[in-house]
Point group: D2
Chain length 388, copies 4
């Protein structure tokens, strides 16, 4: 019996469940983007958005989805033929380096098994070998949305520092920002790439570059062609509260509301909540007798968990049954993981009982799909949730 | 750790979780309640509202909450000093007969233990004894929201018929309409009282009287004073699509949307869904080793389940812990049941995973409150939900 | 060419154009009406609602439309057969006295020409003649929505005081509250009747009784039957932040938002705005060479203006042409005024340019209907609006 | 007296007043952009969006604002160093050619006086002179938002055809699509650039490229670097109902609603409505004794009107007074027109009475600013509006 009443469980790792107060905020009438009311909004937003990035520097907001902010990070800082070092942590890291190649950069792509994050020791080796500083930028996906593995940015930074290498550090936080502790300034990140539709609890359509002094300096000489993504006129216009072209006003209303919610909860509490939900989810997975894709417990993701199915079981079939029977969307295995895993998003506007419902649905779906699981799994998650 | 992110679990037995499409429908601008667009809306609504009552007769819609529709049922059909027979099925039945007394009626209140519905055999006895037809109306609460017990209206009707007694049959369906099978015409009900905020999935603010021919005839001679509640001018104005005073236009928009949703799902499917969720809930309660308040399985409610706590445990403490820790509202024990039970609403816009989350929260809350429960309870509910 | 794009102009004298922020506020999920969050909302609302009534005493809020609050005012304070004095100021005054009669009261209905308010001198005469204090209450409609005439409550109070007569003073402010200066306490009103859908800028569905000490005392001995409308249990439950039956929660959210908007603008500014828009409207009417229905300039309404058409012209035809051609709803002539007048609402969430558009539509509609008007009328209104 | 009650008059030439039903549609929960429900939405949208472009070919939708779609049109079809011919019709034409230069193209910028559209005869001369077909693309802004001048695309196409020149024709319809008759296929346009926030009645955040066969062929060899804007993977993924990266789901909901509204009104009626409102606006401007910026009546814009102020008067002061006194936003003079003109938007979700209110506000604002105007102007507009 298909149940399509009640609220859909959108438990993909983003877009996440937009809080209804954010949707309401976004329903306010669009205002004149060249008027005084808009200017006041912009100035305030550009200020209150900083803590979630852990920066005191400029944050550029694009009326575009996150993939655009990847492009912005590259075209503002690099020149044709520049060498960039990318880590194959999963599907999205693979797409980002493909983009870099498309834009005319030369990519060194460090191979990976899609179960680990970017390896700080391998980074150290690569940088040490690069005696001529040919590498202009290191690109890392903080939280691989395709695998549920969180790279250790602080350790990667330490490797750069130890090597005394001048490469820029570009980090994608699309599925970590607002969910997993992140520190643009403290970790010496040069460009942080983010999107609206995950931890920021908004619909897709806004993306971000937090930009270091060093990245701004690089932008002055970078020769990749750019216009829409060009930081300079945006930062210049932002000073007066405006944008050089029409901004996504209604999403900015939502951003204001969402940032207020994160601030009210407190960022440390937000991060702890995500970590706790991730721990409860892993407790269920292990309780079922299944394997979490992430192979290094230091790299467990706070925002999603990828579950590896035993050989001979089709993860997409499990997802389809769960969608049909329980009206819940889960993330598919992407690229080389297709059919082998499914991904449970537990990020954004989320709470204990929604997680319990989610895990109950996963457990029932696994059982209905014939995947052998120990039904004690759900109880293991509740053990975590019951503990304050 | 208190979690106030994500959606609140509103699992009281009403008001229920209004679907967001209903809330959006209600956000449309108020229109002229004397204009042609409004008239078309009214005419359509008064037609499509009938199936949910199981009637082909008139349904009167009040811009008022359900308690007002109780009053309307009485003042339109009865005269000062008339005798009415009421059954003490719980808190709301008690309030309704208090209202009858306040309005100048004489009430025979058949005592009950708050664990059973109105007894058809007792009704038969009372009617048989009433050789002079002093009883002018029989008032029954179909689904006692305070106890989770559903009276068997068809059997009560049969008792009236068997006795050949002319009393009117007035039935409160506030927490059953749109959730539990109900048949105004087939069961010979004279006035069905309903409200918007339960199975109809709307916020509170609308209430209803479905009215039989016999009730309309009674209204012609009934002498209780009435004006706001008076059926006659409403039914008269409704013919042209209007109301004699300002209607609750935006709730009518929501009603249109909600009735469309019920129709799309299909009323038999709606009732089956509620029954299935009720069965899953009882499976959990019994699995925990606790007792369901309803003592007769023929009278189990499809829309809510009242859970009896073991002696020495305070149900309000359990509810408070669940609210604080898991952001879920449950119904309190009312009147003589205060502190002894809590009530789980599983009606309206609701689905399997929300129920699973609800029951997970109840289970954890019971454990945290020190109530001895078998944690296998939740799994028993999942066994029901997993079955198509 | 019919234009049904853009926003409909809802210029009836209520329901008024609900501000979109109020509609958004009303879209928040319904909460548990017996929980702590609701209690806090109620306590705050019952406090901040007082200034708009000009009272420091209790305000009773009903989950019902305004007509119900008329009934409440009568049944809480009076006994069967009590004599009440009503003034025939128009259609709604006529309906209210009909209700009083229906409820078992004896009505002295002072005849009127529907162009004047309640006459303080006539009141004085009536009270003086009533040497035995047979009159228990005087009922007055502050602002007659059917005529656009505002009775002078302070002068009526003075007449009561001068006569030393103990009758209660019951005042309907349905289309004046929040639009026209009103002072429940200062004017010694005993029950003020109000609704949500006019100056309070909400959809219909809430109504109000502001209640004096004297009215509360009268309620203790009043013998009209009452239950739903009974003040006592409501005021009692309100003390703890609750209601004795399910309140219209989402409208209460809207009320909170709307009261905040009135407070932000400032009540004196709100009243001045309405007076200014009324003056501009009359300037247009007089400029067109037409007559305002209200015959005494001391009684011009701030919230609506009724326009009298020359003999031989059908006001309903004018309204129909305006609705079809310009998508604007105007108020019809009611009762004896049917076809002779139309009414322009200029109350609630409203501003200069919406009034200018409204008056432009009226002017064009009059011209298209063949009513002889001087097109300089609109400019006369702009002369008023242009003046700060 | 500043009036900030009632609805703001957003009469800039975009973003326009989003209909509340579109805002409500956008408030629906974000769904899985890789699930079957989304696929069905995409397939339907990509079909129903075609008529508004007048095309049967593919339309690419970007989760980005209109400026991005300018960039997309260039980078998908051209190679570094390619020559493009642009017409200086105003501020936005100037910005577009600056972008082309930034992206590595060589721009021939035909000078203009900002009061005329692109000149078909000048185009003919330029093409005839280009015997080696060095010009790879002709870029034209259909409706110059900065001036209110609409270039005659059909005549430009005829010039291209007459010259037998193979250059691509790229047309910006950001402020004309959905407001002014436009025919991508019939006029042989190769890339039509559009945005969501004008005639499509949405908030900003979506943009479009309608693409001809010839443009698709050009894309195969075009060597400007591209990734985010690359048509190919989008068109490829669209076949199955998906996007290669996260789409702006909620704006797509709004697009579906808005396209339904345009279809219900009928595109010819939509264009006629805009033309009629533009005519009424010009009647007012001429009636005031002022000059419309557009110097050629064949090129009058249906979506906005720029009003030239007499020497010695500051248009920004007029706009400021109108914003402060009447809560209406008008468009500023941009670039070389700063202070000399203001622009009245009369496009999108709009109707006669809103235009009347708008023009009343402009007239009063001009008077208050000391600009000599004949107050008969408004009446001239009403003469147009009164005519069916």
């Amino acid at each position: 019996m298909t149940s399509r009443t009640g609220r859909h469980f959108l438990q993909i790792p983003g877009p996440t469940n937009t809080p209804d107060q954010v949707l309401r905020a976004m329903s306010a009438p669009t205002i004149d983007h060249r008027g005084p009311e808009f200017a006041a909004l912009t100035v305030r937003l550009l200020d209150i958005v900083k803590p979630v990035f852990g920066t005191s520097g400029p944050v550029v907001i694009y009326p575009a989805s996150g993939t655009g902010a990847w492009e912005a990070a590259l075209v503002n800082t690099l020149s044709p033929g520049d060498r960039v070092l990318c880590f194959e942590t999963g599907h999205f890291a693979t797409l980002w380096q493909e983009m870099a190649t498309s834009l005319g950069l030369k990519v060194d792509f460090v191979p990976g098994d899609w179960r680990h994050g970017a390896d700080p020791e391998e980074l150290a080796r690569r940088l040490t070998a690069d005696t001529k500083n040919a590498i202009k930028a290191v690109c890392v996906v903080h939280n691989e949305t395709s695998t549920g593995v969180t790279s250790r940015i602080a350790d990667l930074r330490a490797a750069l520092d130890a090597a005394g290498h001048p490469a820029l550090l570009l980090v994608d936080t699309i599925s970590s920002l607002g969910s997993i502790d992140y520190r643009h300034d403290e970790w010496g990140v040069d460009v942080t790439v983010a999107g609206s539709q995950k931890g920021l609890m908004l619909p897709p359509g806004l993306s971000f570059n937090a930009v270091s002094e060093k990245a701004l300096a690089a932008a002055k000489t970078a020769r990749l062609k750019r216009s829409f993504w060009n930081w300079e006129p945006i930062i210049e216009a932002n000073r007066r509260g405006f944008f050089p072209y029409t901004p996504a006003t209604n999403l900015l209303y939502g951003l204001s509301e969402a940032l207020g919610m994160l601030d009210a909860e407190g960022l440390p509490q937000v991060y702890a909540r995500h970590a706790r939900h991730a721990a409860a989810t892993r407790a269920a997975v292990h309780g079922w007798g299944l394997e979490v894709l992430c192979a290094d417990e230091r790299e467990y993701s706070g925002s999603l968990t990828a579950v590896l199915l035993p050989d001979g079981h089709d993860a997409d079939k499990v997802r389809r049954i769960i969608l049909e029977r329980f009206d819940m969307s889960l993330g598919a295995g992407l690229g080389r993981l297709a059919g082998k895993i499914f991904r449970i998003g537990h990020l954004g506007h989320f709470n204990d009982l929604t997680l319990a419902g989610t895990l109950a649905g996963v457990q029932m779906g696994l059982e209905l799909s014939g995947v052998p699981v120990d039904p004690a799994g759900l109880g293991k998650a509740l053990d975590v949730l019951r503990t304050p």
